[in-house]
Symmetry: D2
């Protein structure tokens, strides 16, 4: 049975289309997708000419399979995701730096300062940490969120943090600028739906055992809520190669850029788990077409409570940002953020 | 720093031990584990003789790493999990049969009848289905749960069903006999903790991208709630081999049996995704030491709404049960269930 | 374009068929396959009735893809491979025991004695060892072959050994009873062709990075030489799970048995790399349908020059054989070998 | 027991060192490594001061594990491999373009022309093709070699071709500029040793089921023959992700560059198997630090006899080379080759 996706400008009245499809025995529904309205129709009515007088769609795309709202053809120019002012997908190279986990006030503010000073567009930092073992540090939870707020106030950078429970969505949404869904929760569909409804941008990390197709399908749980502010994030997959923590799949970046209009982020830090590989993999990710990077920074990695081994020290982060800017120029792009004086933490 | 696990009989007053550890600068806490109490101690006090007069532990085990409460040494004789009367881990071969998804009353009752008639000890059936795509059938949800209850009433078999959201735990626990945590949620730690608290048995499926060590670590999120009624379930991992849906890792079964006192289940249906392979893999799983099997049955697989391709038709299930019983005899075991007349569904 | 495989009894004159195909613009050639002749035809002539008077084929099978001579449909009853008198594929459970590597006379003869005494049908032992590093023990090479001969003379058991170089085939074939192609050489196609021509049975191990389809395709390099004495051997694949050395893929055993008429062997020792898992995986392999097992035995594993960690000590091998015999009875099979008095090594 | 690697300038008389080690019960041998001599010593003598008068080594490195001659510490400045005049490892980005398989004179010369015109430093082309199935095109074999020679004569570019059999080494070495060892033969150790002895440069492709450590270990089979002209080549590994043919592991590139002094090549064409991904993966590989690229070009990909699906058409290759040059400038490198007028094929 044929399926079609019809894309209209926001504000278009699509009732006539829905009636037309209904009268031809065709299942149809409309979904808001950012400043567009998409009508998804399945049935015989997609193959016959529509009656005169209906508003013309901006695009009409034959739908195949279950990847619908994120498909590149729906929005060939791509989607720009706005995370508290930081733009992802506008052609720039956007870096979100920060600690893996928020550990204490001093560490968070110092790290945020480093992130801001060398050109990050946003801060990352985990308050709720999903850990393999219940006996590991689980994050400062709500207390961590307050430290993230404080770091935002000092640096002016928006904050991105992970959500692990549908019961946390509402409270987190009051504070943060963007949700992060971790790899372990990529197929926690109840969480995806809940986060999608909150209306904030969502960075969706690929599950380390999941395919590109499954990642794209998971993003539909969010976009189907009418939320087009989704960033897909490659962070390494499980393979037999254990020299690195995971195997960073940069082909997936190029593939997702080609198949989807959603921007793509890469997290080299968690993929490789070795500081000396973060810089080359960051450069490679940008060259492969990544819109954004998520970089772990720690002012004292040897004392980190979570994944410290992979974090860059401030000097290494500065070096990376310098090289990244040069590479960006080579490929005709510019950095999303600007280098600025260190914020003054009282 | 040294760690020790001390196992005491239920009802033992361990306060003296906790005081002793406290007075020696040793972190210690006690956890109920079925009919035992386990004191987990970490610090110098684990290396010095305890004062006279404290109750003697049944076992004392040096703890290494983060796999604690499920370790074989804590309960060398193994744990028997009682799912609404069905025993898993008592030496028998326990089969839980049923449909992948509850689809409608007729299908559910007919399938339950087949499961019961040929010797299942319990019923499986999904009311909440985590699906890769939001556009696929998501299960009948609470309506499905009612059909499961009805099937239990007719067959007398206990029911096992998947829980996908911490907000569902309480309501599900009022009805079902055992929780199933699906592979996609094995590292949804908020869900594990919530389910652990509910007090019912939990079948924990291994994530398809997760190691044996991570599976054992995930079980600690449940046992740390004082719940020792946990069954570990191997259901195939992601590998490059795509002739089968996943690669069933039977070495993991033997490994988990050796490392943990928790019983081990195998789900050959979801692993292989090909009906013709379900029988040989069921036999192989039992030979590898599996305590229980989870088998998809469908009375009309070609009309299944979810994963029908892998389900056994009734005749194939009967054949499998016959061969499984013969093999069980060869390895000195017996079937957990009994073959009986078909229940009469009005 | 249509393809057909026509199977005739040995001695059938198929010239008429070849002329018929030739006259209809159809490519055809004949291959000897054990006691059959197979005509492989591709083109329009496969779809028209053949002229009267041509000898009738025993089977005619539509060919799809590149797996031809090994396809189950060509020989539904299966192939029995005769390795110096040891039968593989006749319904029995055939165990080939021995050391991973031939190390010295004493070790080889003592291990062969153990293998023979507890019911092996043949001996395994590597004279040429393909090792990851050039600095590891590479095997005794030709001197090792002499020790294998001596072990055969003492025990009466046929010998199976690995060939790693096409230049060795002829000289090895003068002595041994069957070739083994190691996992690292499964796609060393020049070697496969050469070994296929030698006329001796070949045990073809699946490459640890290769699919079932590729393994079946590789076997065609041997059968295309007119040699139907091929045993397919599963020995574990590379996956992210590193608790075991490789992941034993027993679904592949069932799959290969269903798709091919060639018998299937399993090497649990090299798959798991842990002695305590060899017994359960041996039982599981037999339950999954394996015709034969390859078991590493070492009289002093701690002194082994190669892969000693996984070898069974004599007592463990005896225990395994006892359990295997009981399981075999449960599944209606018998052991290929017999338990006998220990050979007397002067 | 301690091990040391001592590196001396070519022509140094190391006999005194070997005698010294011998007299202290230390195993030692010397290997030529390009213009160096390396003494590998293992035993107590590595820990005592050497007698006066022995020539001082350029470097002395404590050896751990089996990766010795290729270790970065032995030659911190890196090795430049000279393939018939094309330099790999000198800081430039060196592209070897050409067809996957040599198919016929017209295709080979036209493709070579394209490769040369847009800036390749050398030609690739397979005369001997290791194919999964014996029924696929196996290459033109020796006739293909003649066409490669002709292409070299016309373009002036050196030729790189695969060797699959130790019996072919000598004859190939008379003609070609560099050997390629394919992924399927990376652990065909007899072939590696034979090729190592021939004295020509060797491009060693990583096996798709092999780790970085195993790839480095395999290179020692070549360098142990005194041949330091080895290029390590990443070409994708087998993972569960099948959207691309293999998963290109660019972390391995950075890792191999850090661990070894040997230059690193990447083959994006065979990794991804999709033309639209070749360009982004080429750029990413260069950004990750690859010294060289192997790019499949075909003038009529739809008619290719082998792996045509992944080849770039001439225009796409030109576009890739333009972008690669810009990226190279961004990272402070230059292209190894020059753009030049098309050769004139009579």
């Amino acid at each position: 049975m044929s399926e079609s996706l019809l894309v209209f400008a926001a504000g278009t009245n699509v009732d006539g289309w829905l009636q037309h499809f209904d009268s031809t025995g065709t299942t149809a529904n409309s979904v808001k997708l950012g400043d567009s309205i998409v009508v998804i129709a399945k049935g015989p009515g997609t193959e016959i000419p529509a009656p005169a007088g209906l508003p013309a769609p901006k695009h009409e795309v034959a739908s195949k399979g279950d990847f619908r709202l994120g498909r590149r053809e729906l929005r060939p120019e791509g989607t720009i995701v706005n995370i508290g002012g930081a733009k992802v997908g506008d052609g720039s190279v956007a870096v979100f730096g920060g600690p893996c986990a928020v550990e204490n006030r001093e560490q968070m503010l110092a790290t945020a300062s480093v992130a801001a000073q060398y050109g990050s567009v946003g801060l990352r930092g985990g308050a709720f940490k999903p850990r393999t073992s219940p006996y590991s540090f689980q994050g400062l939870r709500w207390a961590g969120l307050e430290l993230l707020e404080e770091a935002r106030a000092h640096t002016g950078l928006p904050i991105l943090t992970e959500c692990v429970d549908p019961r946390h969505v509402e409270r987190l949404a009051e504070t943060i600028d963007g949700f992060q869904i971790g790899a372990r929760n990529m197929q926690n569909f109840e969480l995806l739906s809940e986060v999608g409804k909150a209306g904030l941008p969502v960075v969706l990390k690929r599950g380390f055992g999941c395919t590109v197709d499954e990642t794209l399908a998971a993003s539909e749980y969010i976009t189907a809520q009418g939320n087009d502010q989704v960033v897909l994030c490659e962070r390494g997959i499980r393979t037999f190669e254990h020299s690195t923590r995971f195997t960073l799949d940069l082909s997936a970046v190029a593939l997702m850029k080609q198949r989807s209009h959603l921007p793509v982020m890469v997290d080299p830090s968690h993929s490789v788990g070795i500081p000396a590989l973060v810089e080359p993999m960051t450069l490679a990710a940008a060259a492969a077409g990544a819109d954004a990077l998520l970089i772990d920074i720690h002012v004292q990695p040897e004392q980190a409570l979570c994944d410290g081994k992979q974090a860059l020290v401030p000097e290494a982060f500065r070096g990376l940002m310098t090289k990244l800017e040069l590479l960006a120029m080579g490929i005709g792009r510019k950095m999303g953020g600007v280098v600025r004086p260190a914020p003054d933490f009282a």
